[in-house]
Amino acid sequence: MTTATDTIDAHDEHHDHKMTGIKRWLYTTNHKDIGTLYLWFSFIMLLTGGAMAMVIRAELFQPGLQIIEPDFFNQMTTVHGLIMVFGAIMPAFTGLANWMLPMMIGAPDMALPRLNNWSFWILPFAFGILLSSLFMEGGGPNFGWTFYAPLSTTYSNGSTAFFVFAVHIMGISSIMGAINIVVTIMNLRAPGMTYMKMPLFVWTFFITAYLLIAVMPVLAGTVTMVLTDTYFGTDFFNAAGGGDPVMFQHIFWFFGHPEVYIMILPAFGIVSTIIPAFARKQLFGYSSMVYATSSIAFLSFIVWAHHMFTTGMPLAGELFFMYCTMLIAVPTGVKVFNWVATMWKGSMTFETPMLFSIAFVILFTIGGFSGLMLAMTPVDFQYHDTYFVVAHFHYVLVTGSLFSIYAAAYYWLPKWTGHMYSEKLGRFHFWCSLISVNLLFFPMHFLGLAGMPRRIPDYALQFADFNKWVSIGGFAFGLSQLIFLVLVIKCIRGGEKAPAKPWDGAEGLEWEVPSPAPYHTFSTPPEIK
């Protein structure tokens, strides 16, 4: 590998630094630059969406209305959801894919570097449009991130057009990113890297990209129908004109359910990379992991109506969707057991990436279990639209997806920056996040079971104590994320020099290039045995 590294370095010197300043970032087609842009963008969005969550929790700190108007509260819940889903989690995964995929498969770059530049640079415009609507007369979207018709059509406050165009741009960006990932993986793998030799990280992004290509266009279609219903007099969802609002939910969730796996499958890949590294053992059951991921992806297409049990489906439909949903627990269980089996009798150490990964396994499983509870039709009638649902999806998205992204960031920060991050600060970030996130989301289960509805700015007095704790947890969790910001900035600016492979149990091609990773890597493909 030494010779290969030397040529890379030599190559670097005459090829690099053509542009400086803002132009470097605007015109870049380098997968590492674009990955960095994606990651920073998603972190800014995380803080933006997080600030909205703080507004929500401040209003819910005590019963009654004290800080904001109900309509603004609705805008906050809506935009918080949209920002976190489309602005924080998804771009963060795309950023990780951009940074790591080419290095992991021994490719010089993504297959479509210009498309890559474009798919990133349209994103700020999408969120600019979405956020700007908050400052307009009438306010931003207030119909929930699921934009159920007729809330988003007949009863919208005029922000629908902005919302729709923002979602269109986000969708185009995701689709282009996904196309890039698929063709990169299919065509640019180093010689000898067969599909079943790919790191699991690559596999999960491969499958996720397919999910994106399949369902993002359906979302684009849904928002288009909402747009024409609102402004051009069509009646897709308008009962008065022969349409059907329940059909909106079917079409939306046909996108929406695979979407939740789009946000968790890459997390599975990350955790499957990190746990073996710190347990110093091979990943247990590699091929079963691949098959489990594929079956989850397949099943995600036939379970959408479990979001709609209370719409008055016939019994046969409810049973079908209930059983299919529960079936997903099988491949997911395979994964969880494989992670545990990987750790079993391993020589474990607990650096920050591993801490986040272990927390992921435990807390994601809690989220999975509450998901199983929600899958049961009869009890779903009780849980539907309560804080139990809020607790469930925050356990899978915050302690699931977000924690995995943190784990990935800590794991690869030395590779990205060339410096070791401060382990002390990292652990501080982890423990603050872990404690506050559970204080934030765990009591929501009880609130939901007791009947507190979601998306309402006020609540009955008996929910006051739990809400106070939840809000305190929320503020603490929000503040804890600033530790990460400090840590990353410190790590970029300096610190202990990172070796090419800072984790001794780590495996993969990305550790064969020096740290920080040179601007161009694997211009000549490595040899895979």
């Binding site: 640019l188 009962a239 008055g312 016939p314």
Partner: protein
């Protein structure tokens, strides 16, 4: 998406990549079209299975062979006006008992209380949904739009029968009408009626 013109990095845009991109772009457009195809598919699916309680929007002809006096079905009527529709709307009775195959005639009263000429459309829904396919309307005001002058009221007719094929487990059927004020989206030709 012409990536082939100039490659800014060292990655050659080879044939395979192009083929892959083409396939995926076609898939994207196909899935976009599929999103819209779900609309008619949904209607057909619901039509066949009667899943969402939608009844036919055209008149049925009476073709039951005789009246099944051994069974009595209670048909309940619910009427409501959609948000923003300042109309009065109510059935002449709350419920009626029918034998399967027996023809019944019921009137609904609608009154335009908006103070100006308006057009309304009633949208029916049957619960339980699976009974919808057995609820046959010979004549229904819901087949047409209802133009009414300001403060004008009218009795609107509904003629129906319950198909004797109706499965045994159904003993009650609820027919719900929601009246929408569609004046704004109606062409002026109708308003001049």
């Amino acid at each position: 998406m012409h990536e082939d013109k100039a490659q800014p990095t060292d990655v050659p845009m080879n044939k395979q990549v192009k083929k892959g991109v083409t396939k995926l772009v076609v898939t994207v457009f196909a899935m976009f079209a599929f999103g819209f195809a779900l609309v008619p598919l949904y209607d057909v699916f619901c039509d066949i299975t009667g899943l969402n309680g939608k009844t036919s929007d055209t008149a049925a002809t009476y073709n039951a062979d005789g009246i099944d006096t051994s069974r009595t079905i209670k048909v309940q009527f619910i009427s409501r006006t959609a948000q923003g529709a300042a109309w009065q709307f109510k059935p002449e009775m709350n419920s009626i008992e029918v034998h399967p195959g027996e023809m019944k005639f019921v009137k609904f009263y609608a009154k335009n209380e908006t103070g100006q000429h308006g057009v309304a459309q009633a949208v029916p829904s049957v619960s339980p949904g699976l009974a919808a396919n057995y609820f046959q309307k010979i004549e229904c005001f819901c087949f047409n739009q209802q133009p009414l002058q300001a403060s004008e009221g009218a009795w609107l007719p509904l003629q129906f029968y319950v198909d004797p094929e109706l499965p045994e487990e159904f003993t009650e059927i609820t027919l719900s009408y929601t009246l929408y004020d569609i004046t704004a989206s109606t062409p002026s030709s109708l308003e001049s009626d």
